[in-house]
Amino acid sequence: MTEGIRFHYDVDGDNFTSAGEASVNVKKKLRQMGFDPDVIRRVSIAMYEGEINMVIHADGGEADVEVLSDKIIITLADKGPGIPDIEQAMQEGFSTAPDNIRSLGFGAGMGLPNMKRYTDSLEIESEVGVGTTVRMTVNV
C-alpha cells in the first residue's frame, strides 16, 4: 500500500475555547481532497470529541491523522490520568467531567460513545497515571 498523507497537531490543554481547531482544520483539508461529506463529518466529529476529551481530562495531547486510499486513521495520544474502567467510560451518560465543563455544554458522557458511533473501529489503550491513546478508523 502506498504511504498515506499525514497531518499532525498539538492540542493545547489550556485553552478550552480553541479546542476543535485541529478537527476543523482536518475537515477543511479532507474537503479540499474531495472526500464524501459523510466521511468528512464522521472523521471530524469523532476527532473533535477526542480533542475535547484530551483538553478536559489530560491537559492536551497530540493528534495524528493519516489519510490512506481506503481509510482515514485518527490517533489521539495524551499523558493524562488514564481511564481506570474503559467499559464504564464507553457507556452513554457516564462522565467524570467537572462542573465548569458541563456548564459549557460538554461532559454529558457522550464523547466516547459518539467516537464509537461515527467510526468503523475504535481502539483505546490506557494506563492509569501514564496516559491514553485512542485510535479510530473511518473506512472510505
Binding site: R41, I45, Y48, E49, F106
Partner: protein, 110 residues
C-alpha cells in the same frame, strides 16, 4: 427553504449569514454540545440557548445549515466573528426554544 428565506419569513435577527443560500433540510434543538454533535444532521437548523465559542465548532463539524440562538441570548462579538470566518450562519430569535422550533418547523414544512 434557504436560511435567508427563513430569516425573512420569521424576522430572525441575523448575527452573521455568510452562507445565505444554504438549504434547511431538518431541525434539531439542544444545548448539550456532545449530544447535538451526535444527533443533529447535516442541513439541520439547530436551535439552542448555548452561546459559547464551542457552538461554532460544533455547528461547523456537524454541518448544520444554521444556528438559531433562542431567548435572545447574549453572545460575544468574538464568537460572531468566528462564525463568520468559518461560514456558519448565526441567527437569533426572541422566542423560547419550543416556540422558535415550532415556527421554524412550520415555515420550513418540516
Amino acid at each position: 427553504m434557504t436560511v435567508k428565506e427563513l430569516t425573512e419569513a420569521l424576522s430572525l435577527e441575523v448575527l452573521t449569514m455568510p452562507e445565505p443560500d444554504r438549504e434547511i433540510t431538518g431541525g434539531y434543538a439542544g444545548d448539550l454540545l456532545s449530544w447535538v454533535m451526535g444527533r443533529a444532521r447535516s442541513g439541520d437548523a439547530w436551535v439552542t440557548i448555548m452561546t459559547n465559542m464551542n457552538v461554532v465548532a460544533v455547528a461547523s463539524l456537524a454541518d448544520t445549515a444554521c444556528v438559531v440562538i433562542a431567548e435572545a441570548a447574549e453572545i460575544d462579538a468574538g464568537i460572531v466573528e468566528r462564525a463568520e470566518s468559518q461560514g456558519i450562519n448565526l441567527l437569533r430569535s426572541a422566542d423560547p426554544i419550543f416556540a422558535a422550533c415550532s415556527r421554524i418547523a412550520a415555515a420550513c414544512g418540516l
